[in-house]
């Protein structure tokens, strides 16, 4: 056996498991982990552009599947691989880099069409092809990682810290990089990092091969260039709004910006002008003025209207349902949440609003409207009385002390995606009972909250919103919420008005006049007779009126239970406003397929269930299956009890870690008021603190008494902190909502740190204990842990949809306690 700097150069046996990995190898591991996590986040971004956002779930599970399968592979080829550590590491890192580029470029050529999923039997197969293509790079990345764990098993804490610190840097780094470069250029960075890891290992290995290292570096640079160059263009689904728009004669992209918040395209169409005016009344005196279309990730078309400071061309904005509030108030102070391309601000200017605060999440959109296309748009955000704020709606409302006459929440999503249930799995803190309470809290006496949604038939979102408004009012102590609500409907939009005070007869007279003169249906106002609703845009039944009436009456619970779509109120704990799917409706809709029943199916949810099933099957086939077949070899000399305890321990912590992480990403999303920052900050804080915790675990392991298993201490801390946070955070965090971004990020990191620190310990503790007492089980438990993680990533979301994130957290705590009970028995001193 020849060992130099911890490397095996030509020997056949592995060195003692207590040998520490050399620093350079640790850095290479960090590079691979960083690249792998960056790749995972980047794929979510890339697939949001070329397809739809559901693929986020697929990316998490496909990444974890790669890790699990690599564990199995390393197990089966352990001796052969360990004796060639640096060569295998370098080769796998290089293959990871090359396949990261190739897999994505190939995957976007697979003719998978999410919209045809239920029509075309080939689509699930194409989805599986995409899944397996993306599995390949993660597999190679994980071979590097897994090899390090098995080779330096007794120093799992140290390896874990290199691994997890790299991952932390990767998740934060990719978000920062996406602010600077386009997504495909960021993919080039990932490729280059992987090849750099390969070069580093080759260069510092005992058998130094500078020439080979140079080849890796050049290959990395060439691939990175190729991906970022025109060779690697993004192929957006032809069914996305932007693709369809660009088919129109004369339509062309005139500006494009990219950031982690989205790829924004501005399109002009001189030959077939855009005329976006959702739900415009047939009585409208004129047409919309000239428009430019603005798309985010190829969807959610909104319009930049030509505005030259004259009111008349904006008259059409008085003939859409969202104008109702302006007919009840004289020159109100207005808050526009989700200002986008500026339509709602123009509407406020048209109605001579006293002042307008406009909140928009994406600064690129504001810059395009206000600067790049200022000559066209008339720079509405700079108009007298208008102030624009970059930020998330909920965060702005929590921080502001102002009171408004009118709070407008515009149509922020695309009709097509919304109607097809594509947002079913998207958390939204814009539409929850608590958010409505927050908006109502910012209304001046007699002010209105005005929320406009697309009309779906039979009604879903509009009814859910009405029910949520009723609950929010009740929570605010309003005895009869129906006296404060009104619902105005065109053929494709509906506006819900919630008043801070009861509607007066004068209010109702104005509303009736507004609706009648525009042929809009007034489906609810206090004192409405059933025959007054459903007059202009007639439905077979008066679904909107009847639904709202039921939701405002004593039969609310019964109505929600009997309704075939989920219209139960969305809350901060279950922030899934767009989730309307009900399992019991599925058989009926499938039976109605030939009639055209499928459009009623909220299939975004089903796609994630399919992803879970696919992940489960794939993880069993690729991780547990091979290990089971070769169980005699991998579990030699281990008793059944030890086997079961170890399996229980690593399965439990695999599921629980993901549950806690996902639940806290959600909880901090609200506080950090920005989903992207929340993911980056929370993930970074978790991984960093877990990395440090894992380092500390080595000390804990040696200091532990024989009576209490070392995992009991971190588990007690995790349980205490998690349960404490469930109780504490909702009450305490709003007090800090007005703090600046940096302070809130720092506070979040401080709160997460002790939890992450404790969560970083159970895995390396168990791993090290098992490495000493039953080393043949090490690969097994790696596989089981990976398998559990694959499934739990998707499972956490599905559980949260149905039971809420607190439920997910409680289960995580229970699983950690179970893990402590299953802790692998104290390691015997290793034989010398």
């Amino acid at each position: 056996m020849v060992i130099e700097s911890g490397f095996v150069t030509a020997g056949r046996k592995a060195p003692p498991p207590t040998a520490a990995p050399p620093f350079a190898l640790g850095i290479a591991l960090s590079l691979v982990s960083a690249a792998a996590l960056a790749y995972e986040i980047l794929l979510t971004r890339l697939f949001s552009i070329i397809q739809w956002h559901h693929f986020a779930y697929m990316m998490i599970s496909v990444a974890l599947l790669g890790y699990g399968a690599a564990g199995t592979c390393v197990t089966l080829l352990r001796e052969r691989l360990e004796t060639r550590l640096q060569a295998v590491f370098a080769g796998s890192a290089a293959l990871f880099g090359a396949s990261a580029a190739a897999a994505f470029l190939l995957a976007q050529r697979v003719p998978f069409n999410a919209l045809e999923f239920l029509w075309d039997p080939a689509q699930p197969l194409w989805l599986a092809v995409v899944y397996m293509l993306l599995f390949v790079p993660f597999f190679f990345a994980a071979v590097c990682v897994c090899l390090m764990y098995t080779r330096f098993a007794a120093r799992a804490g140290r390896i874990y810290s290199f691994d997890i610190l790299g991952a932390a840097a990767g998740c934060l780094g990719v978000v920062l990089v996406l602010f600077v470069v386009a997504p495909l250029a960021a993919l080039g960075c990932v490729v280059a990092m992987a090849l750099a890891a390969a070069a580093l290992v080759t260069l510092v290995a005992p058998a130094r091969r500078p020439a080979r290292a140079l080849v890796f570096l050049l290959l990395g640079a060439a691939l990175a260039w190729a991906v970022a160059s025109p060779l690697g263009t993004l192929r957006m689904s032809p069914y996305k709004e932007l693709s369809q728009t660009l088919q129109v004669m004369g339509a062309r992209v005139v500006a494009q910006t990219s950031s982690p918040l989205g790829l924004v395209n501005v399109v002009e169409s001189p030959q077939v002008p855009f005329r976006l005016a959702p739900g415009l009344s047939l009585s409208a005196p004129g047409e919309p003025p000239e428009q430019l279309a603005l798309f985010t990730d190829g969807e959610g078309m909104s319009a930049i209207a030509r505005y030259e400071g004259k009111r008349e061309p904006l008259a059409y904005l008085d003939y859409i349902t969202s104008a109702a509030g302006y007919h009840l108030l004289a020159r109100p102070r207005v808050l526009v949440l989700g200002a986008g391309a500026g339509g709602d601000v123009l509407q406020a200017l048209y109605h001579d609003a006293a002042a307008v605060d406009a909140v928009e999440l994406n600064p690129d959109v504001i810059r395009l409207v206000q600067q790049d296309f200022a000559a066209f748009s008339g720079a509405p955000y700079g108009a007298p009385g208008v102030r624009v704020h970059v930020g998330e709606a909920r965060g702005f409302v929590a921080a502001t002390q102002a009171r408004y006459g009118l709070i407008q929440i515009a149509l922020l999503d695309a009709f097509g995606a919304s109607s097809a249930g594509l947002y079913a799995l998207a958390e939204s803190y814009l539409y929850t009972v608590e958010s409505l309470q927050a908006y109502l809290g910012r209304l001046a006496p007699g002010g209105y909250l005005s929320i406009t949604r697309w009309v779906a038939l039979p009604p879903r979102g509009t009814l859910k919103l009405a029910g949520m408004a009723a609950v929010a009012l009740e929570r605010n102590g309003v005895a009869d919420p129906g006296r404060r609500l009104a619902l105005i409907r065109s053929w494709n939009t509906a506006t819900l008005l919630v008043k801070n005070g009861d509607f007066t007869p004068e209010d109702i007279a104005w509303l009736k006049d507004f609706s009648r003169s525009r042929s809009f249906d007034l489906d609810w106002y206090p004192g409405i007779r059933p025959d007054e609703a459903n007059r202009y845009n007639q439905l077979d039944q008066s679904w909107f009126h009847d639904g709202v009436a039921a939701l405002l009456g004593p039969q609310r619970a019964e109505f929600i239970a009997r309704y075939k779509f989920n219209v139960a109120p969305a809350t901060d704990d279950r922030p899934y406003f767009f989730h309307f799917f009900r399992w019991r409706t599925l058989p009926e809709l499938l039976r109605l397929k030939e009639q055209g029943g499928l459009p009623l199916l909220e299939w975004g949810y089903l796609l994630v269930v399919a992803t879970l099933a696919q992940a489960l099957v794939a993880s069993i086939a690729l991780i547990l299956g091979p290990l089971w077949v070769l169980r005699r070899r991998t579990g030699a000399g281990v008793g059944r009890g030890t086997w079961l305890r170890s399996a229980g321990y690593f399965a439990a912590i695999g599921i629980a870690f993901m549950f806690v992480e996902i639940a806290f990403i959600q909880k901090f999303t609200l506080f950090l008021s920005h989903p992207l920052y929340a993911i980056a900050v929370v993930l970074f804080a978790f991984l960093l603190s877990a990395g440090l915790g894992s380092r500390m675990s080595e000390r804990l392991s040696t200091a532990a008494s024989s009576r209490v298993p070392p995992a009991a201490w971190p588990v007690a801390a995790i349980a205490g902190l998690s349960l404490g946070y469930v109780w504490l955070l909702p009450a305490a965090l709003p007090a800090f909502a007005a703090w600046p971004d940096a302070a809130r990020i720092a506070l979040s990191a401080v709160l997460i740190f002790p939890l992450g620190f404790a969560m970083g310990m159970p895995f390396p503790l168990g791993f090290a204990a098992l490495a000493a007492s039953a080393p043949t089980l090490v690969p097994w438990v790696w596989g089981i842990n990976a398998c559990a993680s694959v499934v739990s990533a998707v499972l956490a979301t599905l559980l949260a949809i149905h039971f809420g994130f607190n439920f997910v957290l409680l289960w995580a705590v229970a699983l950690y306690v179970l893990a402590a009970a299953c802790y692998p028995r104290r390691a015997q001193p290793p034989a010398s």
């Binding site: 069914y239 030959q271 038939l457 039979p458 053929w491 075939k564 009623l600």
Partner: protein, 232 residues
Amino acid sequence: MMLGMPGTAPAADDLAAARQRMVREIETTQRDVAEHTGSKTLDPRVLKVMAEVPRHLFVPKQHQAQAYDNRPLPIGHGQTISQPYIVALMTDLLRVSPGERVFEVGTGSGYQAAILAKLAGEIYSVEIIPPLGRQAAEVLARTGYHNVEVKVADGYYGWPEHAPFDAIVVTAAASHVPPPLVRQLKPGGRMVIPVGTSFLTQHLMLVQKEKDGSVTTRQILPVSFVPLTGGH
């Protein structure tokens, strides 16, 4: 329903039989809907025409095997040909008669225009995607639908030279009902707009212009679905 491998030419008899099966499926579906609603029945003339028009000629070669399945199909350029049942329902709602003049916004594959061509007098159709418009015009001319005129143009302002129309069908996505089209609709005329995404028609909107010029709209769910259990 398979007619053969993609790209191979099935026999005329097979095609006619496939069309008959498709029409029978539409009839069965319609009966199911009628059982629920107690009203709707499709115009026999519409079904007769659906049994005659060669839908397979309006879909790309690779999808001809599924041409007579009751499902939407991709036709390229991010566009689709609607599910036959929806085409039948829309045509039925338009209630066109021989000799009448129909305007279509969104020619697409040309199939809807072909169906209308056998029921009405003149069909004027516009398409905003040039290759689609050219291809549809070519197929319609080749298959003998000489009473259809297709042009690549913006449909928002209708086709004033041929207005007014007895019926209008707007198959292109619209954020609102174009007022110029309402103006070009004859009193007593009907306009149908399918609402939804490329592959999924959520509902149909029927705009009716009364004899006195007033306009009403109806939204029709093409499916017998009651959203409340025990609610019917």
